[in-house]
């Protein structure tokens, strides 16, 4: 379709340039067409057990939600005294606090520059305020019907699981939103408990299990992977045990869910890698790899 018919093509080689008039038609397809096409250059090779290990974060979070709901159920039924829960919670928090510093030998504390006095202050402020406001928390959603409370709690806990920071670099991740949703669910559920002391202890427990526990987990995972696996298994079994004491069917379903997430999903992830066809070429938008903020600081 171009200006001249092809005459002595043997000598003339096609060039990938636009500024020269070449003796080829405009729709000419050279042998070099798509030669710069690359496939799966950024694809990662996954090891099965490594993926299983990583999936434990999800398992942990599911178990946290499960433990939380089980504890709430026991409190609601009057089978668990609030003082006992508070005592256990306080003891495990203290152990966790000591562990948190022990694991990395105080490195993280030095880096952040936070003193123990500051920790104590914020803990005291939080406990005092929650205790003072617990009558308000108790009555805040009391007038809402129980069905609505349950539905809301379910959505909030689901939201907590969806937006939780599992370590993926995605737009949907928001640890603030995730924590807020979990606390909201705990406030909702607390209003169904008999007294305001129950509500106070429920919200405190929610903070412990949804805010403090994941921090400790993260550090455990980074520093001592072996003990982390142990802790995860222990935690999963205790969550299952708790659920088993309430409902056998629920426990079986939950166990199936945990197994499919920790064993089946990694298997499928690796199997589906075979079908991956990620195309790259000169048309890709270039990435700025350097840190440009240094020019502004």
């Amino acid at each position: 379709m171009c200006a001249q018919p092809v005459t002595n093509t043997k000598e003339v080689r096609w060039q990938k340039v636009l500024y020269e008039r070449q003796p080829f038609p405009d729709n000419y397809v050279d042998r070099r067409f798509l030669e710069e096409l690359r496939k799966n250059i950024y694809a990662r090779k996954y090891q099965y057990w490594a993926v299983v290990f990583e999936s434990s974060v999800v398992v942990q979070q599911l178990c946290s939600v499960c433990v939380f709901v089980v504890i709430w159920w026991y409190m609601d039924e009057g089978l668990l005294a609030p003082h006992w829960l508070f005592g256990t919670g306080l003891a495990s928090s203290l152990i966790g606090y000591v562990l948190f510093d022990l694991i990395d030998g105080g490195e993280g504390r030095k880096k952040s520059g936070r003193t123990r006095w500051a920790d104590l202050k914020s803990a005291l402020v939080f406990i005092t305020f929650t205790y003072g406001f617990s009558p308000v928390l108790k009555t805040l959603t009391e007038s809402v019907s129980t069905d609505t409370i349950y539905a809301m709690s379910v959505f909030m806990l689901l939201g907590h699981l969806i937006f939780f920071d599992y370590g993926a670099n995605a737009a949907i991740v928001s640890s603030t939103l995730s924590l807020n949703m979990a606390i909201f669910a705990s406030v909702c559920l607390a209003s169904r408990l008999p007294r305001s002391l129950h509500a106070f202890i429920m919200v405190t427990f929610a903070i412990q299990i949804f805010a403090l526990w994941p921090m400790l987990q993260k550090k455990l995972k980074a520093r001592t992977p072996r003990s982390y696996v142990g802790v995860t298994l222990l935690f999963a079994f205790s969550a299952l045990g708790g659920l088993l004491s309430i409902s056998v069917v629920g426990a079986i379903l939950f166990a199936l869910l945990l197994i499919s997430i920790s064993c089946l999903c990694p298997f499928y992830l690796i199997r589906l890698q075979l079908f991956k066809e990620n195309i790259h070429g000169p048309w890709d938008e270039a990435e700025i790899k350097e840190d440009l903020s240094r020019f502004l600081s």
């Binding site: 636009l18 798509l34 195309i279 048309w283 890709d284 938008e285 270039a286």
Partner: protein, 485 residues
């Protein structure tokens, strides 16, 4: 009017384009086409696609074809307008959804477009830009009506994220039965062929062009005691403004006689202002803000070096305009840029601050040692590369080829949709194609083609424009008269 302003009073675009009278050219031609350019993007909106459509239309009119442009209404500008040489523009009253692109339902534009295609006796629909919903609608309706279609793709897309997966699927559907596709560079062709799963034989590469008479050098406008680097681009992430914010302090500290002039506006302007503030460069970095296209040349001629930091680019008119003004171009090596200028006129760098700084330092060294050719010489080389005449000539060949092809009958079209676009999408769009056809049958029953008036033909071989208004200015037809409903 926007398009009239670009040449200045002494040099209307038509004068630059038509030294030969249209009659003599059309006499030698065998077949003239009735072409309808469809895109959401046209004047008064400004940009590469807009000027491409305008310039291509003017050159095709010069070659004796009938050309009309269909776009959506811009503010109060709706109805029909005539531009230079009787180029008729329909501004259709369709709702703009996002970024000047109209909303699409695939059906609502059929009555209007069908009316236009019939009354203008259009034979070839030429759609522009994959961002334009109206362009895709027109391709779909044209196929239902049995017209030939051509599509020009002006942009590059990735494959990795969710949004591009969806848009690429839509492009596959839209281009599945388009007769011919035009891309602006070889990289763009590879990209489009992959995105829309096309046969590369039906994709032609016809580059963009710049009007070299608009971009002439003027060495007396620049100060040779200092070195001036020009940047003209929208200040957005995709144009690499972040890289620029790293280059400016790095080089300004090294070269005390280096100045930057930055034209363009955008959300990233703030970081350039911060850099200027932080390093106290107010007298050496000038931010001009948004530039009109006609002012670009006056900015370009003030500099010695042109810097382009784009992260993705299908063709990049800016570097051709800069080279045409006689500047040494330093650019990132992305997209179709390496194809645009020969190595002697451009310094290609990797998209990183370090590499771009090295490229600029090389250019500065060449400038100081007098190794760079004179601006006039660069201009004389560049002006032969890309001309709208050449673009029109090659596009015309595409039209000639397309006009001889047979339009797929309905059953084959449905087969092709189903086999080409995948099981789910294919069946959905085949169903929509059937609905569209039934809608067309209904419209034909309400107003048969035979009673639709034939529009006054302004351009083309027997165009009224050349007979009645040989030297007149633009005519604006009263929008009340037009048949847009």
């Amino acid at each position: 009017m926007a398009c009239r302003g670009r040449g200045g009073p002494g040099q209307p675009p038509s004068a630059a384009l038509s030294p030969v009278s249209p009659g003599s050219l059309s006499a030698s031609r065998t077949s003239a086409h009735n072409i309808c350019m469809v895109s959401d993007f046209f004047y008064p909106n400004m940009g590469g696609v807009e000027s491409h459509i305008y310039q291509l239309s003017q050159c095709l009119i010069e070659r004796g074809h009938k050309v009309i442009v269909v776009t959506h209404a811009y503010g109060t500008r709706k109805g029909i307008r005539y531009l230079t040489n009787g180029l008729k523009v329909y501004y259709l009253p369709l709702k703009v959804m996002y970024n000047q692109s109209t909303a699409t339902t695939l059906f609502h534009s059929l009555p209007l477009l069908r009316y236009i295609f019939v009354r203008e006796r259009v034979t070839i629909i030429h759609s522009h830009s994959s961002f334009s919903a109206m362009a895709h609608d027109a391709l779909f309706h044209a196929k239902t009506m049995g017209l030939q279609t051509v599509f020009t793709d002006h942009s590059l897309f990735g494959f990795a994220d969710v949004s591009s997966v969806l848009t690429n699927k839509l492009l596959t559907v839209s281009l599945c039965d388009t007769n011919h596709i035009i891309c602006v560079s070889f990289t763009s062709k590879e990209n489009t062929v992959l995105r829309a799963a096309l046969n590369p034989e039906i994709v032609s590469v016809i580059p963009n062009a710049v009007d070299p008479t608009d971009f002439t050098p003027d060495p007396f406008r620049r100060h040779d005691s200092i070195i001036t680097v020009i940047v003209v681009s929208r200040l957005v992430y995709r144009k690499g403004t972040d890289l620029l914010s790293g280059i400016i302090p790095e080089l300004c500290q090294k070269y005390p006689d280096l100045h930057f002039i930055i034209g363009g506006e955008g959300p990233k302007r703030i970081i350039l202002e911060e850099v200027r503030e932080r390093y106290q460069l107010h007298d050496r970095v000038r931010l001009l803000g948004a530039l009109e296209h006609k002012d670009v040349r006056n900015v370009l001629v003030q500099g010695h070096i042109f810097l382009n930091t784009s992260l993705t680019e299908a063709f990049c008119m800016a570097i051709v305009e800069a080279a045409s003004c006689g500047l040494q171009v330093v650019s990132t090596r992305v997209g179709g840029i390496p194809e645009v200028l020969p190595e002697s006129l451009i310094i290609l760098c990797e998209p990183s601050v370090k590499s771009l700084c090295e490229g600029l330092e090389k250019a500065i060294f060449q400038l100081r040692s007098g190794m760079l050719p004179a601006p006039e010489d660069i201009h004389n080389i560049v002006k032969t590369f890309y001309t709208w005449r050449n673009v029109a000539e090659r596009t015309e060949k595409v039209y000639d080829r397309v006009a001889e092809e047979a339009v797929l009958p309905m059953d084959q079209r449905l087969d092709r949709l189903i086999s080409h676009c995948g099981p789910v999408t294919g069946y959905i769009f085949a169903l929509l194609a059937v609905f569209n056809f039934l809608f067309l049958v209904l419209l034909r029953w309400i107003i048969p083609d035979s009673i639709i008036d034939v529009a006054v033909d302004a351009t083309g071989p027997r165009g009224t424009w050349t007979h009645q208004h040989p030297h007149s200015e633009d005519k604006v037809e009263d929008s009340g008269k037009c048949k847009t409903r």
